[in-house]
Amino acid sequence: MFPAAFEYRRAQSIDDAIAALAEFGEDARILAGGQSLIPAMRYRLARPSALVDINAIGELGYLRERNGFLTIGALARDFALETASLIRERYPLLADTSAVVADPVVRQTGTVVGSLCHNDPAGDWPVTSLAARAEVTLRGPNGSRTVAIDDFIVDSFTTAAGSGEVATEVRFPSPNARTAGSFQKIERKVGDFATASAAAYLTLAPDGTIGKAGIAIGAVGPTALRVAVAETLLEGKKPTKELIREAAREAEKLADPTADNRGSVEFKKAMAGVLAGRAMTAALGRLGVGGLE
């Protein structure tokens, strides 16, 4: 299983990478973790004419809070989030996600930004990014722009990034004390893509009602999906078992999966609902609201 031939360029800076993309044209690809791209190349499903390797751009490996955001550079590996106490303590939704992406070896090389750019319908990071309302920064020949995740995700394996642009960062708004999330995933075994997944990111208002809600489901549509109806349902209300069940039903309704080895349409939709419910319950549990199981 050997890829078709391609050209290789190692970029020393972001500008270097942008210039290389321009030089090689639209069949060139950025190589960061490569954990999705290289397997596709080995099957010859992906046949880029050139790879622009950005792994030498050390400045992109950051994972830090800045100006009200958690900023994750393009070379921050899943493993960095999996092991960082900052993430475990302040961003449990991201801690949950980073513990179940792919497998523990792939996580040492795979990147969050790379996963968002790849935008596999069954990928985990797009789901979490939707729930937590992340933003992606793109840099290209015409400068820099920041795109909200809802606009960044366009279609299966398709994002708003232009062929000459490099995604340099994803950032998550830093939570206040009354915000928590949870990521739930069903996979047949470690390393499998999700059969279904769900992320809930909830902020409680001072009066104990749900202030802001982010609910997203994954592997049950052409892309990860925001369950906007569920969010609207939750906002302003006191969390109850029935409310969660209603919101979970909306997730099941919205889910639009295709049948495959992982399950039928009916099963995947049902699991999207079950996991959305479990994600909401777990998020609320982290906020000290119990008894909702």
Binding site: R44, R188, K189, V190, N261, S264, V274
Partner: protein, 777 residues
């Protein structure tokens, strides 16, 4: 000198593996070596209209493109299959008969260029309607094999037992159950793919073949028969093999094409398959649709067993069974139970799928048989509202009935099924588990306990019944002791991780009072190893292990003469005990085997040949019959259908145990494979004939996180006919465990009225059963 048998000796083969210095097939590099890659059919059934090699041949680095037409011209297009009743195409010729069937081979100077060349071969196909279901195949509306004389998809009918008596007994039984039980198509998937380096040396006239082979001598003979090259001019070497599980028994098209390429071009040619090729073209396992009927009295004594099986063999009958057993050892289907009468029949059909059928530690269809009887006994227990352990106990072949002649023709050597089950139930705390289950059921929680008390049959086999391509299924050992008391031991088997380099040394060390650390064990090289039938179907310890003991005893016979000579006594006064030659009545007067070894070369008795060696070819008098009692405890998530295996206990009886650490390792591995089969593995072809599980993202191997913790124990009921009482164990966990898992899940779902679900018990399958049951209430 202390005992070597029963010792948990660390493995002698490990030092090279832990250093990454094993020598596997793809590690072999020969000068001027070329690489072979294969072109595959995208269609499950199609006429091949044309193959255009020109673009591939024009690619720099491509040295040859070989098609079925080329092979046919050289009379090498058709291979005999193992049990001889069919033949198979090497490369698709005229027709492609399954998706991914090999259509052409490209030989090039590098792996990458060979794959580039594969992309450039242009094949014109005319798709035909595929047949993907054996019941559909049975109708003979589309005949798949126009190369065969009889134009039918029905391959054979096989039966054993008393059909009339069984039918009558079933009809007159007070209680009767009937169930269609599927043993689904799956695949052994060892981590090392199959491969070959074929090296035709025109200067010496010898063909050297390195091959991932579980049976190098048989492969050498087969290659000789197919190519016409005499066996003395063929040298087969099976190097370190990264897992076999039956996958490395058949002869695959890639092997033949690489050999032909080497013969034509005159340089070594290497072919190593991709994982996709492994899963889509090499020998699958199972695919038996079994209709099982059991009759019983009201108090749970079984009266009769009938099993009618529809077998899906794929496009060729390449099931690697011994010649007289087209359905393998399926007749073991009466299992551990004393059925007064039984009848079993198998009808096999061609379909547009890859060929195979005998693999994945199946002991020749014993996995299928054991699964059928153990599932059915549980279904019967439920119908009788009887505890499944009690039903089994009531029907076990009693301890005093051995050797036991089953109604389907086997003579079981020994067993104490009651003791094995009792040990398992005591250890797992069966009674308190049932109490816990009763409490949980009140709260609607789904907890299940599943039992499997299996008896299987291994050690193929007695020459009067068992042969492969006509060669009797004996096995062999050759032992030579050196002057300074160490030795070399060669056997006709070929391990792929089972630890023969250690266990064989232990067997010989025990017999000869020599240190196993100083007995070098070799297998796999046909120029030096005595002829053997290879390692599969758990036959190594029963057959080669016996040969080793018997060869060692021949050495001891001669050694006794030498000892008598050394001690200046008559042979009649010498006895072997405590690992020494002692003189009767004179304590303290003794010589060791080491003393004898030195004397064999320096001071042999008059009229005795110098040296100290022996060979033994062992034709076993019978098979051996290991048994076990396995218990699984599971908890089922009602909302997702996920099954959590809370506990699993395996109590095995494989007779005398040579190395308990190695036996335990075999059990762990087999239980993990059984777990995979029960919950996540199946090779599925859709209605259009597309193979849906072509790589490890779609054919699932469990990781350390899904895999349960295994508890193991043993009972020991020696085999009375085996020289050291050993029975073999490698396949028992695969034979015994899937049904324990499935029985446990069915037990958990019993309050919902679910009676049977087929493997694999995916979350969806369990979830759906729960939803359907809830809808009824």
């Amino acid at each position: 000198m202390t005992a070597s048998i029963g010792v948990a000796m660390k493995r002698k083969e490990d030092p090279r593996f832990i250093r990454g210095r094993g020598r596997y097939l793809d590690d072999i590099v020969l000068p001027n070596m070329l690489y072979l890659a294969l072109v595959h059919s995208p269609y499950p059934h199609a006429r091949i209209k044309s193959i255009d090699k020109s673009k591939a041949l024009a690619l720099p680095g491509v040295k040859a493109v070989i098609t079925g037409e080329d092979l046919d011209a050289a009379k090498l297009e058709w291979l005999p299959t193992f049990h001889g009743y069919d033949k198979q195409m090497v490369l698709a010729f005229g027709k492609a008969l399954y998706q991914y069937q090999e259509v052409a081979g490209v030989v090039a100077t590098s792996r990458e260029i060979a794959e580039d060349g594969v992309e450039l071969v242009e094949v014109e196909y005319e798709p035909l309607d595929p047949v993907v279901n054996p019941f559909q195949s049975k109708e003979d509306k589309i005949i798949l094999r126009d190369d065969r004389e009889s134009k039918t998809n029905h391959i054979y009918h096989w039966e054993v037992g008393d059909k009339e008596k069984t039918a009558a007994a079933l009809d007159s039984s007070a209680v009767r159950i009937k169930e269609r039980i599927l043993s689904p198509r799956c695949h052994p998937a060892p981590l090392e793919p199959c491969g070959i380096v074929a090296d035709m040396n025109k200067a010496t006239g010898r063909l050297t073949v390195y091959m991932t082979s579980q049976a190098p001598h048989v492969h050498r003979t087969a290659f000789s028969l197919v190519t016409g090259i005499p066996e003395d001019k063929i040298h087969f070497i099976s190097p370190d093999v990264g897992g076999g599980f039956g996958n490395k028994v058949p002869v695959y098209p890639g092997y033949v094409v690489a050999t032909v390429a080497s013969v034509i071009i005159g340089v070594p040619v290497k072919w190593v398959e991709t994982r996709t090729e492994n899963l889509t073209t090499t020998g699958f396992a199972r695919d038996y649709h079994m209709d099982v009927e059991i009759g019983a009295t009201n108090d749970g004594r079984v009266t009769a067993l009938k099993v009618s099986t529809t077998a899906d063999h794929g496009a060729f009958d390449a099931a690697a069974d011994p010649r007289k057993y087209p359905a393998g050892l399926f007749g073991i289907v009466t299992g551990s139970y004393d059925f007064p009468t039984a009848f079993a029949e198998v009808d096999a059909y061609f379909t547009n799928k890859a060929p195979g059928g005998i693999a994945y530690r199946c002991s020749f269809r014993v996995t299928e048989a054991s699964y059928a009887i153990e599932r059915s006994m549980d279904i019967l227990a439920r119908k009788l509202d009887m505890d499944p352990a009690e039903l089994r106990r009531r029907n076990f072949v009693a301890k005093d009935k051995f050797p036991y002649s089953s109604p389907l023709g086997f003579v079981y050597d020994s067993g104490d099924y009651e003791a094995t089950l009792r040990k398992a139930l005591d250890k797992i705390g069966y009674d308190s588990l049932r109490k816990e289950q009763a409490e949980k059921r009140k709260r609607g929680e789904l907890m299940g306990i599943g039992i499997s008390t299996f008896t299987e049959v291994v050690g193929a086999g007695p020459g009067k019944h068992f042969d492969i391509l006509g060669i009797k299924m004996f096995d062999s050992a050759e032992i030579r002791i050196h002057p300074t008391g160490s030795g070399i031991v060669r056997a006709g088997t070929r391990h792929q991780g089972q630890g023969h380099e250690t266990t064989y040394a232990q067997i010989v060390g025990e017999e000869l009072g020599l240190d196993p650390q100083e007995l070098l064990v070799e297998e796999g090289d046909t120029d030096t190893a005595p002829y053997g039938l290879g390692t599969y179907a758990s036959r190594s310890t029963p057959v080669a292990g016996a040969a080793l003991a018997m060869a060692a005893r021949r050495i001891r016979e001669k050694a006794k003469k030498i000892a008598a000579h050394l001690m200046e006594v008559s042979e009649a006064d010498v006895e072997w005990s405590d690992y020494k030659f002692n003189v009767k009545g004179i304590p303290g007067k003794s010589v060791t085997m080491k003393d004898v070894a030195f004397a064999a070369y320096t001071n042999p008795p008059p009229a005795t040949e110098p040296g100290l060696e022996a060979t033994y070819y062992y034709d076993p008098p019978n098979m051996t019959f290991p048994n076990g009692a396995y218990v699984a405890v599971v908890d089922v998530d009602r909302d997702t259908g996920h099954v959590q295996v809370r506990r699993f206990l395996a109590v095995d009886d494989c007779g005398v145990v040579v190395n308990p650490m190695i036996v335990e390792g075999q059990i762990h591995g087999g239980l993990t494979e059984g777990f995979a089969m029960a919950f996540m593995q199946q090779i599925v072809y859709d209605d259009a004939g597309n193979h849906l599980n072509t790589n490890f993202t779609d054919y699932l191997v469990p990781t350390a996180l899904e895999t349960p913790h295994w508890e193991t124990d043993r009972t020991v009921t020696p085999s009375p006919h085996h020289p050291i009482g050993a029975k073999g164990v490698g396949e028992s966990p695969n034979v015994g465990s899937p049904q324990a898992f499935v029985n446990a899940v069915m037990d958990a779902l019993a309050p919902l009225g679910v009676t049977h679900l087929d493997m694999p018990l995916t979350r969806e399958k369990v979830w759906r059963a729960i939803r359907e049951a809830e809808a009824k209430t």
